[in-house]
């Protein structure tokens, strides 16, 4: 087994599970506090590690997407508070004309005075949500969600595949919407507005259905869902354990994430749930015959990454016990915001993965991957563009810089411009 010193130099993808544990640790911190200083610290930690350790693969752009989503959340939360919320007492910033509402809507006000504390409170609330989102985005950017599947227990694998396949239909749905809308225009029908959208919905759904059917047929023909024989009693026990475990985990997580609930209730339930689920899954795994191709190793960097995530969460939980006021401080004046030592230390530890993990492999960072995805996604040049090899598609594209290891195949190595655009196959 390589030492940490060598292991963090040689590029490889870190086990996706490690990134997810780390990200969930950060998300736990974010969801337990309303202290903007801590939230901003979580954001910076996640941002720094992502910028240091993400690859150039298409999924690596997830962080930016989630950040933008977070900004939208903050904006909506704040505007909603200004327009609809009951103002907290404090300095009045400005007032919005108040709309009188009928009697049945008593308790809801539209407009009125806008105070500094209420704006601050809602913005922080939004920031908290945005930070949790950013943590999920970081996990997505650092680990290909599909690779995480490979590490799922055998029994969960098939559910996981179903989920991932369902998710990957979203981009192809966008493509077929664009394709069919363009076609509609060619029948002289309006291509915009509500009617335009409704007339497109039906063929798009048919399209998606066709596609999922052919995918299902392909997966079935390739052995998806082969089963080994297991006794009926074992199957029932498995179902019971798994279901109970999942319930336990759900209740435990709720107790843990919600700082206002008793921590003592959360942790034991979570542990018991995890144990039951683990036994259930191990039993269920007996029914599947799957094996794994090149499983991701779990070595020192993985332990460190997951560990720092857990420590960050632990720091915040400890702060919640010893100094709960620091997690939910009064927000004004800003200069008096506390910065609890334990939680801060835990978060600072969580930056470590930026150095202790191996850099992402260069192979998947081929510039073609990202440009072509963009092409297929943004332009949706029907099937033709999506089928395109970037090497064939555009001269002088970044593809030209990609090192080509062998002679074959000519088609992919760069643009050729002979008279008839024919291609030699080696």
């Amino acid at each position: 087994m390589p030492t940490l010193r060598t292991d963090r130099i040689i590029p490889r993808g870190l086990h996706p599970g490690a990134w997810w544990v780390w990200a969930i640790g950060l998300a736990t911190v974010a969801s337990r506090t309303r202290n903007p200083l801590l939230l901003l610290l979580v954001l910076s930690v996640a941002g720094y590690v992502v910028s240091a350790r993400r690859s150039n693969a298409p999924w690596a752009r997830a962080f930016i997407v989630f950040l933008k989503l977070g900004l939208v959340v903050i904006a909506i939360r704040t505007v909603a508070q200004v327009l609809l919320g009951t103002p907290l007492p404090g300095t009045v910033l400005f007032s919005v004309p108040e709309f009188p509402l009928p009697d049945w809507a008593a308790g809801v006000t539209v407009g009125g005075e806008v105070t500094a504390p209420s704006v601050m409170a809602s913005a922080t609330e939004g920031l908290r949500l945005a930070t949790v989102l950013a943590c999920i985005g970081a996990a997505n950017a650092l680990a290909n969600p599909k690779r995480l599947l490979k590490s799922l227990p055998a029994a969960l694998y098939e559910i996981g595949v179903a989920l991932v396949v369902a998710l990957s239909f979203a981009p192809s749905l966008v493509t077929s919407v664009q394709r069919i809308r363009a076609a509609r225009r060619l029948r002289g029908r309006p291509d915009r507005g509500v009617r335009g959208i409704i007339s497109v919905a039906m063929p798009v759904l048919e399209d998606a259905l066709d596609r999922s059917l052919s995918l299902a047929a392909a997966m079935d023909s390739r052995g998806y869902g082969r089963r080994a024989d297991v006794a009926a009693a074992t199957r029932r026990l498995t179902a019971l354990l798994t279901l109970g475990g999942v319930l336990g985990v759900a209740i435990g997580m709720y107790g843990l994430l919600d700082a206002s609930g008793p921590t003592a209730m959360g942790l034991p339930t979570l542990v018991a749930g995890l144990l039951a689920a683990a036994v259930g899954l191990a039993l269920a795994g007996r029914r599947t015959v799957r094996s794994r191709y090149r499983p991701d190793p779990w070595r020192v960097p993985e332990w460190l990454t997951a560990g720092t995530g857990v420590l960050a969460a632990a720091g915040s939980i400890a702060t919640g016990i010893f100094d709960p006021a620091a997690l939910n401080p009064s927000l004004l004046p800003l200069s008096e915001l506390p910065l609890p030592a334990l939680a801060t230390a835990g978060l600072l530890l969580a930056v470590l993965p930026a150095w202790v993990t191996p850099p992402p492999p260069a192979a998947v960072t081929a510039p073609t991957t990202s440009t072509s995805r963009q092409h297929a996604g943004t332009s949706a040049d029907s099937a033709e563009a999506a089928r395109t090899s970037p090497g064939r598609d555009h001269a002088g594209a970044p593809d030209a810089e990609r090192p080509v290891a062998g002679p074959a195949p000519v088609a992919a190595t760069g643009p050729r411009r002979d008279e008839h655009a024919g291609e030699a196959t080696p």
Binding site: R184, L186, L215, R222, A376, S382, R387, P409
Partner: protein
């Protein structure tokens, strides 16, 4: 290896069985080619081999299907995954993962093979199919041919003894198709895999086949036998065979090479006849032969047209002019900008710089109602244009959309596809009928410019011949037609002018016969047999021989 005994398949709600009393035995190591008209039951036959019919599709199966001794009645597709590999027409729809290497391993993981075996087989397969350089590439960045080879590889890693391929090259440009077929041939020769293959474009595959299975459709029995013997009579045949039949060569040549050796006399006779004659059905401009009458007025033009999608330049400085009565074939590999050009001409994309004009107006600024009077497009998926429940409703909608007298569309439809059931659902039509319906809808508003994107995908030879006739008639009526196509035989038979695009630029623009003769990728089979003479189709040869016997 594959044994079908008295196989019959009836789908639910179907009036008649799709297959009845089929007996077929395919011995180990044979490449067996399944041919037949669209809808004759080719796909059903292929899918019954690994149990997708009836386990997946539903329906009733009578008789028995035995593959490597396993009965599909007791073995669903997943239990046959280790002996039968299935590759379909569109590889993208069957991909489960998103990286080449993982895709190759997926099937083996499902079978539960140990890690070292998987590792070894993935490396072997990468080499066998020439995919080693692509191992870390995302599947979405591959070209059509590369994807189809990955799809082949992903079933090969399970070491199946039978490979079932349903139209593996239909969606590919000619070089990509050759890429895939070369890989396939190596499998048959080196590994002794049994292959059952269906393909519309017979000219691409017939020379590789050991045996031919012709499904006549209906209740007629299967015809099985030596390709050369069977092709003498089947209604579907590639151009080189048609030429052989016409001249009466015996044995019938299946490859261009065989035909060329027969053709010395024919070449001498034809060069004595001078040049190919224009088709008799068509008095107006058929410039497939040089010296044809000049086409009429200009109806569409592009001027330094450039279209960019983000960092990718799809079209660069394209200058084209389209005139009445012209049939323009737009060729080039997948992704060379053909579809983008059609989209620019219909205003679906706006030019980044330069201009596209149709009937004097920029199509992107036209309202849909005005647009359809100037230009019509039959998209790659004709069904995209259809949304009514019946053919009749579809025709009425077209009349309304175009503000023409009721029944106009139906009249056009009867001309293109006579006797179509007005109450049929558009989805239940055959590919050819659906194409005809969409063409009729597009023609209802009488646009002077008609664009067709890959019109022959999924068409059998008969439907293709009808399409060619229709296109010529439309050109005679003064329509300008643009065909974006990979089908060199279609371009040779229908187009007066051919434009080859590469990387978004016009590489060649000229009369079809001058462009395609001598091009290794874009020459039709007849031109290859008769090169350097400019005859492109069997029809032209037949006419020349009538005139100068």
């Amino acid at each position: 290896m594959i044994e079908l005994q008295q196989l019959g398949v009836t789908y639910p709600d179907a009036a008649a069985p799709t297959l009845a009393d089929v007996d077929l035995y395919v011995p180990e190591g044979e490449l067996c080619l399944v041919v037949g008209r669209t809808g004759s039951g080719k796909s059903t036959l292929l899918r019954s081999v690994n149990g997708l019919v009836p386990h997946f599709t539903g329906g009733t199966l009578s008789g028995r299907v035995l593959v490597a001794g396993r009965d599909t009645a007791t073995h669903p597709p997943r239990e046959l995954a280790d002996v039968v590999g299935v590759v379909g027409q569109d590889p993208t729809s069957g991909f489960v993962t998103d990286v080449v290497e993982e895709e190759l391993a997926y099937g083996m993981e499902s079978l539960g093979l140990p890690g070292d075996v998987m590792r070894r087989r993935v490396e072997e397969t990468l080499d066998l199919l020439g995919l080693a350089d692509l191992r870390d590439r995302a599947l979405s960045t591959l070209s059509g041919g590369q994807r189809q080879r990955v799809a082949l590889g992903s079933v090969l890693t399970a070491h199946p003894s039978v490979l079932v391929l349903d139209e593996p090259t239909s969606a590919l440009d000619p070089p990509a198709a050759e890429e895939v077929l070369a890989a396939l041939q190596r499998l048959v020769h080196d590994l002794g895999i049994t292959v059952l293959l269906a393909e519309h474009r017979l000219e691409r595959v017939v020379q590789y086949a050991d045996r031919l299975v012709h499904i006549p459709g209906g209740a007629a029995p299967l015809e099985v036998g030596d390709p050369a013997r069977l092709l003498a009579t089947t209604p579907v045949a590639p151009p080189v065979v048609e030429l052989g039949r016409l001249i009466g060569w015996d044995p019938l040549p299946l490859t261009v090479r065989d035909a060329r050796r027969h053709a010395t006399d024919l070449r001498a006779r034809l060069s004595a006849a001078g040049r190919p004659q224009p088709p008799a059905t068509n008095g107006a401009p058929y410039a497939g032969t040089s010296g044809a009458p000049a086409p009429g007025d200009q109806v569409a033009v592009t001027c330094e047209l450039t279209v960019r999608y983000g960092p990718i330049i799809a079209l660069r400085d394209v200058d084209l002019e389209l005139r009445e009565g012209e049939v323009l074939a737009l060729m080039g590999r997948n992704g060379s900008g053909k579809t983008t050009l059609l989209r620019a001409l219909t205003g679906v994309v706006r030019p980044t710089s330069g201009a596209a004009r149709v009937g004097g107006a920029a199509p992107a600024s036209l309202r849909p109602k005005e647009l359809i009077r100037k230009v019509g497009l039959v998209p790659q998926e004709p069904a995209d244009l259809l949304y009514a429940e019946t053919v009749d409703a579809e025709c009425h909608a077209a009349d309304r959309d175009a503000d023409v007298a009721a029944g106009s569309c139906r009249v056009l439809l009867d001309r293109l596809v006579p006797g179509l059931d007005p109450t049929a659902h558009p989805r239940d039509l055959s590919e050819g009928q659906r194409l005809g319906l969409v063409l009729a809808i597009v023609l209802t508003s009488a646009p002077p410019v008609i664009l067709l994107d890959e019109p022959t995908r999924g068409l059998d030879y008969a439907a293709k011949a009808r399409l060619i006739g229709i296109l010529r008639e439309l050109a005679t009526d003064g329509h300008a037609i643009v065909l974006a196509t990979h089908d060199v035989e279609l371009a040779a038979a229908a187009a007066t002018r051919t434009v080859v695009l590469a990387d978004g630029e016009v590489v060649v623009d000229g009369p079809t016969d001058e462009v395609v003769v001598g091009s290794p990728a874009f020459a039709p089979q007849v031109a290859k047999v008769l090169a350097p003479l400019p005859w492109l189709t069997v029809e032209q040869v037949a006419r020349s021989l009538e005139v100068a016997p």
